[in-house]
C-alpha cells in the first residue's frame, strides 16, 4: 500500500507475537464460519504473514462523518462571500458574472470532494496477526492498534443516516480508557457483521467444541448464536411507565398545564426543566430498549437494541467482571428484573452505552441469560438471593443492630460465599443480587462510618472494574466483616493463582494466562492500543490480560 508511506510504525515490543500466547485465539484447525485464514497462529510468525490486506471504508464515509454538515456550512459561507465579491444585490449575487461564480463554485466543490477523497484514501484498517489496526489522517497520521486479546467487546451501530445507505459502524472496545477504542466506520452491513464475527472470534479463546460440529440441534451450523430473549414493545412501554421518572412527569405535567392555563408562569422555569429532563430520560429508555434482543453464543452474548439507531454489542463471556440482577420496586408485582454487567474496558458513555444484558426481563428470561453466561454466573444461590424475603440457608445476614440503618431491608441484606463467587443481596420491595467471582475482584475495601462504628458494624466492598455494578456487603458486624475480608482475600488469591496456572484451572472455558507470564514477555502496558501511547510508562505498567 502506498498511501500512508511506511507499512505501519514498528510494533511496540509488547505487541510482538511471542511464544507466550498459547491461550489466545489459537484456532483448533477448522473455523468454517468465516472461511479465511485466521491469522491467529502467532507463534514464530512475522507480522505480515497470515494477515489481511489493508481495507478501505465505504466511499460514503466522509459524507456520513459530517460531510453533509461541512458541505452545508461551506455552501453558506461561500454564498455569503459571493455576495461580497460580486456585489450586494441579493437577487443576483453574481451580478452577471456567472462564469466566474460557476468556476469558483466548481473549484470549491471539487476541492471538498478531493479532500474527502484524500481523507478517505488515507483511512484504512487491517486485521493483522495479533492486532486490528486503523490508520487515519493525511497530515497528522494516526495509527492505532488493538490487540485481539485485549478486545473487550465489539459493537455495531447504525445511525439513522447510515441505515439509509445500508452502512454500519464497528466499534472495538479495548481495556483502558475511552481513547483505547477504535471505530471502524463505515462499512457495508454484511461486511460489518462479518468483521464483527471475525473480531469476536479472534478476541475469544480457541473455538469451543460446540462450534465445531457437536452443536445443539436447535443451532444451525452457520449461526452459532441463538435468540434467548426478546423484549416485546408492550413490556418496554409498561416498564418505562412504571418508573420514578413517570412519577415525576405525573406530578409536573399537571403543574405545567395549570400554570399555562391560569397564566401563572412563575412555576414554569422551575418545573419545566424537571419535566423536560424526565421526559428526555423516558424517551431515551424507550428508544434504547425497543427491539431488544439477546442472543447467546458459546463464548459471547450479543445484544441488539434501538429504535432509531440500532446498536449491537457483543460481550465476550470471559470479559464479564460482575453481574447485578435487580428489580425496581414498581416492577415487583410483575416479576421483571434487569441484568447489568461490568465489562472490562467498556466505560459507560451516558446515554450511549447500554450496560444491561436485559433491561427488563421476565424471570425465565433472566435465568435463561444467566444460564447462557455459563456455570460461573448461573448459581443456585442467585435464585435464593432473589426470592428469599428474609434469612435463607446460603446467605449470612446482618446483626439486628443493622436495623437502625436499614429498617426495611435489614432482613434481606447479606452475603453468600460459593466456591467461585461472592454474592451480595439487598433491597426490600425492589430487590437486588450482585455476583462477583473471586477471580475477578480487583481489590477489597472494608469501611465504617461513624454511625456504623457506634453500632459495631462495618461493610465490605469487593471492587470490580469500572461499571454500574458496584457490589457491597453492608452493615455486617465488625468481626464478621473482618472475617469476610480475610476469607475473601484468600479465595481471591487462590482464584488468581488458579487462573494463572492452566493446570489448576477450574473452569475449562475460562481464559488462562501463560504459565510464566512475565518470563519472556515484557510488561504490556494496560493501554497498549496504539504504539504512540505505549512508550513512556510501559516499564511500570502491567496488565497482562488473560
Amino acid at each position: 500500500m502506498s498511501l500512508t508511506g511506511p507499512d505501519g510504525p514498528p510494533p511496540a515490543v509488547g505487541d510482538q507475537p511471542t511464544g507466550a500466547q498459547p491461550a489466545v485465539g489459537q484456532p483448533t484447525g477448522a473455523q468454517p464460519a468465516v472461511g479465511q485464514p485466521t491469522g491467529a497462529q502467532p507463534v514464530d510468525q512475522q507480522p505480515g504473514d497470515q494477515q489481511r490486506e489493508w481495507q478501505r471504508f465505504h466511499p460514503l464515509t466522509p459524507l456520513l462523518r459530517g460531510g453533509v454538515v461541512a458541505l452545508g456550512v461551506l455552501g453558506y459561507v461561500i454564498s455569503g462571500q459571493l455576495n461580497r465579491i460580486f456585489g450586494a444585490d441579493p437577487d443576483d449575487p453574481t451580478q452577471g458574472h456567472w462564469g466566474i461564480a460557476a468556476v469558483v463554485l466548481a473549484v470549491v466543490v471539487l476541492g471538498v470532494i478531493g479532500f474527502s477523497a484524500i481523507a478517505w484514501r488515507a483511512a484504512s484498517y487491517r486485521l493483522g496477526t495479533t492486532t486490528v489496526e486503523l490508520r487515519t489522517g493525511v497530515v497528522a497520521k494516526q495509527h492505532r492498534q488493538v490487540r485481539y486479546d485485549r478486545i473487550q467487546a465489539v459493537d455495531i451501530s447504525r445511525p439513522l443516516l447510515a441505515q439509509l445507505f445500508g452502512l454500519s459502524s464497528v466499534r472495538v472496545e479495548a481495556a483502558g480508557g475511552s481513547d483505547s477504542n477504535i471505530e471502524l466506520a463505515y462499512l457495508p452491513k454484511g461486511e460489518a457483521d462479518a468483521l464483527r464475527a471475525d473480531l469476536t472470534r479472534r478476541a475469544g479463546q480457541a473455538p469451543s467444541p460446540t462450534e465445531n460440529g457437536t452443536q445443539d440441534t436447535e443451532e444451525a451450523p452457520a449461526t452459532p448464536e441463538r435468540l434467548i430473549a426478546a423484549i416485546p414493545a408492550g413490556r418496554v412501554w409498561l416498564a418505562t411507565a412504571m418508573s420514578f421518572n413517570s412519577a415525576v412527569l405525573i406530578l409536573t405535567i399537571p403543574l405545567l398545564l395549570g400554570a399555562l392555563v391560569t397564566g401563572n408562569l412563575g412555576l414554569v422555569p422551575v418545573v419545566g426543566p424537571i419535566a423536560l429532563g424526565s421526559a428526555g430520560a423516558q424517551f431515551g429508555r424507550l428508544s434504547s430498549w425497543m427491539n431488544f434482543r439477546v442472543e447467546a453464543g458459546s463464548q459471547a452474548i450479543r445484544v441488539r437494541h434501538g429504535l432509531t439507531e440500532q446498536r449491537t454489542s457483543t460481550i465476550p463471556l470471559h470479559r464479564i467482571q460482575a453481574v447485578e440482577i435487580s428489580q425496581p420496586a414498581l416492577w415487583r408485582a410483575l416479576e421483571w428484573w434487569r441484568i447489568r454487567v461490568n465489562v472490562a474496558g467498556v466505560h459507560g458513555e451516558p446515554g450511549k452505552q447500554e450496560d444491561a444484558l436485559i433491561p427488563v426481563g421476565t424471570r425465565e428470561e433472566v435465568l435463561t441469560i444467566l444460564a447462557a453466561m455459563g456455570p460461573r454466573w448461573s448459581l443456585p444461590e442467585v435464585v435464593e438471593g432473589l426470592d428469599a424475603p428474609g434469612p435463607s440457608p446460603s446467605f449470612v445476614g446482618v446483626p439486628p443492630a443493622a436495623r437502625w440503618l436499614d429498617p426495611l431491608s435489614w432482613k434481606r441484606i447479606g452475603y453468600a460465599e460459593t466456591p467461585t463467587a461472592l454474592l451480595s443481596r439487598g433491597g426490600w420491595l425492589g430487590r437486588n443480587v450482585t455476583l462477583v467471582p473471586y477471580a475477578r475482584m480487583q481489590s477489597l475495601v472494608l469501611e465504617q462510618g461513624p454511625i456504623e462504628r457506634r453500632l459495631g458494624l462495618a461493610g465490605v466492598r469487593p471492587i470490580s472494574t469500572h461499571g454500574s455494578v458496584r457490589p457491597v456487603v453492608r452493615h455486617l458486624s465488625l468481626a464478621s466483616a473482618n472475617t469476610l475480608l480475610v476469607a475473601t482475600a484468600d479465595r481471591a488469591r487462590a482464584a488468581r493463582r488458579a487462573e494463572a496456572d492452566p493446570t489448576l484451572v477450574v473452569e475449562p472455558t475460562e481464559p488462562t494466562s501463560p504459565q510464566t507470564p512475565t518470563a519472556e514477555q515484557p510488561a504490556l502496558p494496560f493501554r497498549d492500543h496504539g504504539v504512540d501511547l505505549s512508550a513512556p510508562t510501559s516499564g511500570q505498567q502491567d496488565g497482562e490480560t488473560a
Binding site: H466, A500, Q541, D542
Partner: protein, 162 residues
C-alpha cells in the same frame, strides 16, 4: 493473621506515615484559608462589623481543621503482606483497602511543592478500577521510591489477568 480496621492486628506490622505529612497538609490548608480570612477582615473593617461573625466562624473552622489534620495523618497506616498491600485511613469514615499485587496495573509517585520541601512523596496504586485506587501519602522520598519499586516488582511477579 487477621486484618483489623483499626488498632493493632496480630501478625501485621502497620507502618505509619511520616508526621511531617501533617505539616504539609496544614500549610496547604493555611495557604487556602488565610486569603479568605483576610478578605473577611477587610470587609469587617471597611464596611460592616457583621463580617467579624464570618471571620470568627472561618477561623474556628480553620482551627478545627488544623487539629483534625494531625489525627487524620496519624490514622493512615499501611502494611505489606505477602500478596496484598493494605492501606488504612480515616478517623470518622474509616476505610481499609486491600489491594493484591497481582491486580496492580501500575504504581506512580507524586510530590507536591510543600511535600517536596519536606522530603515527602505519595505512592498511588492503580488497579483496573480507576475509581478505587490506593494511595499511600506522606512517605519519605527514599521510602516512597522503594515502595513503588517493590510494588512494581511484586505486581510483575504475581500479575493476574483481568
Amino acid at each position: 493473621m487477621s486484618v483489623t480496621l483499626y488498632g493493632e492486628s496480630p501478625g501485621i506490622l502497620w507502618q505509619p506515615v511520616s508526621p511531617r505529612l501533617a505539616v504539609a497538609r496544614r500549610v496547604g490548608t493555611l495557604a487556602g484559608a488565610v486569603p479568605t480570612l483576610a478578605a473577611a477582615a477587610v470587609v469587617a473593617v471597611l464596611w460592616t462589623r457583621w463580617a467579624w461573625i464570618a471571620f470568627g466562624l472561618l477561623a474556628l473552622g480553620l482551627v478545627i481543621e488544623l487539629a483534625i489534620i494531625g489525627r487524620q495523618v496519624s490514622a493512615i497506616s499501611y502494611a505489606e503482606l505477602p500478596d496484598e498491600i493494605i492501606i488504612r485511613r480515616g478517623r470518622l469514615m474509616r476505610r481499609l483497602d486491600s489491594i493484591p499485587y497481582g491486580r496492580l496495573q501500575y504504581a506512580d509517585m507524586q510530590s507536591g511543592p510543600m511535600e517536596r520541601r519536606l522530603g515527602l512523596a505519595s505512592v498511588t496504586i492503580h488497579t483496573a478500577n480507576p475509581a478505587t485506587s490506593g494511595n499511600v501519602p506522606g512517605l519519605p522520598l527514599a521510602e516512597a521510591e522503594a515502595l513503588r519499586e517493590r510494588l512494581t516488582a511484586r505486581g510483575e511477579a504475581q500479575r493476574a489477568g483481568l
